[in-house]
Structures are given as C-alpha cells and as structure tokens.
C-alpha cells in the first residue's frame, strides 16, 4: 500500500496544529511529531519563524520551545479555505 506524500501546505498545517495543541512544545518533540528529517524540519521551522507564524521562546534556564503567534493561528483558519479552494477547482 502506498501513502500519499504530504504536500508542503499539509506539513505546515501539521506543524502549526501540533504547536497549537501543545501551546508550547520543545524542538525535539516537535521534530518527532512532524515526521520530517532534521534537515527538512529546520527548513520548515526557519520559514515559519521568518513568516511570523511561530516564535521561538527561550526561558531563564536556556530551554527552547515553540509557540504559536496570532498569524499562525489565523493560518489554520485560512488553511481550510485554501484546501477547499484547491479541491473545489481541481487545482
């Protein structure tokens, strides 16, 4: 049986959803949850930080975690529209 390859948009949705569910999540846990290679994970995370969808928080003990921004939260809403648009027009 073959599984459908996740598209870029699905990967972004998965990462953002995981962060939203956890409110704050450590990089290692997010890497496992994302099911991506470390290299790909880094690329996606950098893009999401650059686009201000997520932010990297560092606490007093120098521990890192990711959290969602308002823009990231808005994207999850928009994602449904985008998915519906692509499928309804067969794009």
């Amino acid at each position: 049986m073959t599984t459908k390859k996740r598209e870029r948009l699905d990967v972004i949705r998965d990462i953002i959803s995981t962060i939203k569910e956890n409110r704050q999540i450590k990089p290692t846990r997010l890497l496992y949850a994302s099911n991506l290679s470390p290299q790909m994970f880094k690329e996606y995370i950098n893009e999401l930080i650059e686009k201000k969808f997520i932010k990297l928080d560092v606490d007093g003990k120098d521990k890192k975690s990711f959290s969602l921004t308002k823009k990231g939260s808005d994207f999850l809403q928009e994602y449904k529209v985008i998915e519906s648009f692509i499928e309804n027009f067969g794009l």
């Binding site: 598209e7 870029r8 948009l9 994207f75 809403q77 928009e78 449904k80 529209v81 985008i82 519906s84 648009f85 692509i86 499928e87 309804n88 027009f89 067969g90 794009l91």
Partner: protein
C-alpha cells in the same frame, strides 16, 4: 424596436459595458486568489490567478485600445494582436492550472509564474496564433486553439467531478463553466464561418461569456467566505 437594431444602435456602449464587467470580475478573482496564493504558495492557485489576470488584461487591451481609441488601422491591429495573445494565454493557463502537477512539483521555484521556462512555450504559441490570425485576417487559429483547450479542460473537470463531486460541491459548477467556455468558443467559430458575425449571435455569445466569468466569481467568493 427589434433586438437586432437595439444591439446595433448601442453596440459601442454594450461592448464597453461588457468589457468593464468582465475586467471587473477578473480583477476581483485575481485579488481574492492572490491573497490565498500568498498564504499558501500553492502553484495551482498561482496558475488559476494567472488565468484571470490574462483574461482581464485581454479585455482591457481590446476595448481601451480598440474601441475607445480612434479607429486608426495601427490601433485596431495592435488591439487585435494584444487581445488574441492575452486571451490565448489565459486559456493555456486555465488548462495548465488543472494539469501542472504532471509537469512540475510544488517544490520547483520560479521567480515569476507569468514567464518562466515551463510557460515560455505558451507565450510562443500565443504569439504565433495571434500573428497568424492577423496575417490570415481571421480568428480561426484562436478559435480552434481555444476549442481544443476547453475540450481537454472539460474532460479533466468532468473527471474531477466524478471522483470528488460528492465531497466538493463546486466541482459541478466548475465543469459547467468549462462547458460554457467550450460552447462560447464553438459558437464564435460557427458565427464567423456561417452567420457572417450576426449581431444577435454575438450578443448571445457575450451572455454565455458573462455567465462563464460569473460562475468562477461565484465559486471564488462562496469558497473563500463559507469555510471561514
């Protein structure tokens, strides 16, 4: 007053109004889809946006340069070439938006989707078609090319509807839009070949075209508003 004389008497007003309505619809679709593209960076949405960008430009080119300017030969010639070039490009992008996955991946990045190595062939073909029609003094190459494009687009849309029509309600309208587009191009050809550009027939084709664009606008607005 008969319908024919009403159309003839108000031909320029109707044509400008027609161009304005279609250009406005296209601009609204481009604006809406561009927002979705900027969030998603999805290539299908990008090519879909380009379809209406080119349709909009085509109608602006034809009527701004052709109808609103004086009827000097060079203006008319430029308007004809520009209109044909842009409208043929729009048709090619319409088909490509449905089949782009077969030719490129989501990862392939182009600085612009309007002109790159993948779509360069469209520009070349559109230019050849527009120039050949000017040389032949007809619209045959444009009509035949667009009939072929819409036959394929209709088949693909029908397959999409059969596969996912139950879950995605707009697929049937998308298929209907393709059929309307195909009908309009066939009627254009018939009007040229057998009806000596009958005003009544052209008026009917105009109405079909408006329905085609409104159907897409309806889908874009419905989908972008309903799932929020």
């Amino acid at each position: 007053m008969s319908l024919t004389s009403l159309i003839i008497d108000n031909r320029w007003v109707l044509e400008v109004l027609y161009a304005f309505v279609i250009s406005a619809i296209c601009m609204a679709i481009v604006f809406k889809t561009d927002k979705l593209y900027k969030i998603s960076l999805h290539k299908g949405i990008r090519y879909f946006r380009n379809v209406f960008f080119f349709y909009g430009i085509a109608f602006i080119a034809r009527y701004i340069f052709g109808v609103l300017s004086d009827s000097a030969f060079e203006y008319v010639l430029f308007a004809k070439v520009a209109f044909e070039y842009f409208i043929v490009m729009a048709g090619f992008f319409l088909l490509y938006s449905l089949i782009w996955r077969k030719f490129e991946s989501q990862k392939t990045h182009y600085f612009t989707s309007l002109f790159n190595s993948k779509v360069a062939i469209f520009h070349l073909m559109a230019l050849i078609i527009a120039v050949l029609d000017v040389l032949w003094g007809a619209y045959d190459f444009m009509f035949y090319s667009q009939i072929i494009v819409f036959v394929f687009a209709s088949i693909i849309s029908y397959n999409n509807y059969i596969k996912n029509g139950k879950e995605r309600k707009f697929l049937k309208f998308s298929f209907l839009a393709m059929i309307l587009g195909l009908s309009a191009w066939i009627l254009n050809l018939v009007t040229e070949m057998y009806l000596s550009w009958s005003h009544k027939a052209l008026f009917g084709i105009g109405l079909i075209n408006i329905a085609f664009f409104f159907l897409f606008l309806y889908g874009v607005i419905k989908i972008t508003n309903s799932t929020k």
